[in-house]
């Protein structure tokens, strides 16, 4: 029991590495604040392209979405950060992360938006257009709000997944929470820093998961 506590819940070590872990936590929060909007906006763009009336826009967009949904995000990130320099494109870790997440997250969010838009009855658009609203206005004020509301649980679930995927940034040495915790673990030869990181992820994500469950319940009932 003592071994277990000193290996996983060593308070002395936890206090010692707290500043490093906290810095990593802030970096992860920063990544979330950047990447979630990138994904949400990129997804909206992906959906608009994939539902375009012109097949010359639609087909490449659908192909790209399918591609990035089936391409492992870790491979994508390493390719962009470590592979592209061979083609003369050298990116900072943050830029590489942003691009990789834009391509990956936009594809997933885009599909969710599309399901949402398809869930809005055709009569809603007709009602809007019949009052003289243009196509873009109808989309913005009538279709999109209803679409988002109908797929809010899915959008939030995908956001939870996206936040968990920020741990991938550790493999290209971006100083986020997992990277800091793993660094602390290797410096202290102790697992307690990883437990701290896990606890912080839980604190961030568990409320979101609860909210999703309540929303699903509400929308179903």
């Amino acid at each position: 029991m003592d071994v277990f506590l000193s290996e996983f819940f060593n308070v002395d070590i936890m206090v010692k590495v707290a500043p490093l872990i906290f810095k990593g936590f802030l970096q992860t929060l920063l990544l979330c604040v950047i990447l979630v909007p990138i994904g949400l906006c990129g997804g909206l763009g992906a959906m608009l392209l994939a539902t375009s009336r012109s097949r010359f826009v639609r087909w490449p967009a659908v192909a790209a979405i399918d591609f990035f949904r089936s391409f492992p995000p870790l491979v994508l990130l390493i390719f962009i950060y470590s592979g592209l320099p061979f083609a003369g494109i050298r990116l900072s870790p943050l830029a590489a992360i942003c691009i990789a997440f834009l391509l990956n997250a936009a594809s997933y969010y885009g599909e969710i938006y599309r399901a949402g838009v398809e869930s809005v009855p055709r009569g809603q658009v007709e009602a809007g257009r019949s009052t003289g609203l243009g196509a873009a206005q109808t989309f913005l004020y009538i279709t999109l709000p209803q679409a988002v509301r109908n797929v809010l649980p899915e959008l939030l679930s995908n956001t939870v997944e996206l936040i968990k995927l920020t741990t991938l940034a550790s493999v290209i040495s971006a100083p986020e929470l997992l990277h800091s915790a793993d660094l602390a673990r290797s410096l202290t030869y102790n697992t307690s820093p990883l437990i701290m990181a896990a606890a912080l992820y839980l604190i961030m994500l568990w409320p979101l998961v609860r909210i999703i469950r309540r929303l699903e319940h509400k929308l179903a009932g």
Binding site: G123, G128, T131, G132, Y141
Partner: protein
């Protein structure tokens, strides 16, 4: 009832085909200002399609449509501008569920007519009052009965001060006890001089309120005339058979 133009709505030879299925086979619909015209006929006769062509929710495959003298089908016509002048009321109401009754009525006022929120709210309240629902302004469509929803939909159309209102089976989705409240609003609008074309199965109301009735079947106007004449002395055998069916 003025017999000759200028017509407010002037649709001539309107055709509409969905693929190889021709739903309208050259229909004329001429509506004078302040006239209330009823379209009757079996389902699939083309009533709805004809109405939907008149604000280009459906694109006619032939014919001409003029509203207030403007060619609705010309590529140079600003369709959004024309649609403001043509109110549309749908069978299934099509209220925006994420907006309150007042929000439904004011959306186009604010975004199309560019009114301020205060102005739009004032106009919106006036129109909700007109359909007897001022006290429901803050309710969401889901909290309203079908009859109330349809009256909000009418207020939404009225708010833009259209020249003409098209109603596509406005009472068909309602429970029988709620039909009266909607018809009462229609009657008020007629008495106020609103020009309307209504596709409906409410034969008794048509007979009492309509200036003119068109009987459509199979994509053509089989017979048209004053309501009294159509209902008491139809000339065509098809009209007689239809009226006999809906009465029994």
């Amino acid at each position: 009832m003025p017999e000759l133009g200028p017509f407010l709505l002037e649709a001539r030879g309107v055709r509409k085909a969905f693929g190889t299925n021709e739903v309208l086979k050259g229909v004329d619909l001429l509506v004078a200002p302040r006239e209330l015209v009823f379209l009757i006929g079996p389902s699939g006769s083309g009533k709805s399609t004809l109405l939907r062509c008149c604000n280009r929710l459906e694109e006619p495959t032939g014919g001409t449509i003029r509203i207030g003298g403007t060619d609705l089908l010309s590529p140079r016509t600003d369709i959004n501008r024309m649609r403001r002048q043509v109110g549309m009321v749908f069978q299934s109401f099509n209220l925006y569920p994420h907006l309150t009754a007042l929000g439904n009525v004011t959306l186009a006022l604010r975004k199309v007519m560019k009114r301020s929120r205060a102005e739009a709210d004032e106009i919106g309240m006036d129109n909700l009052r007109r359909v007897g629902l001022a006290e429901k302004a803050a309710s969401y469509p889901g909290e309203l009965s079908g009859g109330q929803q349809q009256r909000v939909a009418i207020a939404r159309a009225l708010a833009l001060e259209p020249k003409i209102i098209l109603m596509d089976e406005p009472t068909s989705a309602l429970d029988p006890e709620l039909v009266g409240s909607v018809l009462a609003v229609v009657r008020d609008l007629r008495d106020a001089g609103m020009t309307m074309v209504i596709a409906s199965h409410e034969m008794r109301f048509a007979r009492e309120a309509a200036d003119r009735v068109l009987f459509l079947d199979g994509g053509v106007v089989v017979e048209e005339g004053p309501a009294e004449a159509i209902f008491t002395a139809p000339r065509e055998e098809r009209t007689r058979r239809f009226l006999h069916q809906v009465r029994h």
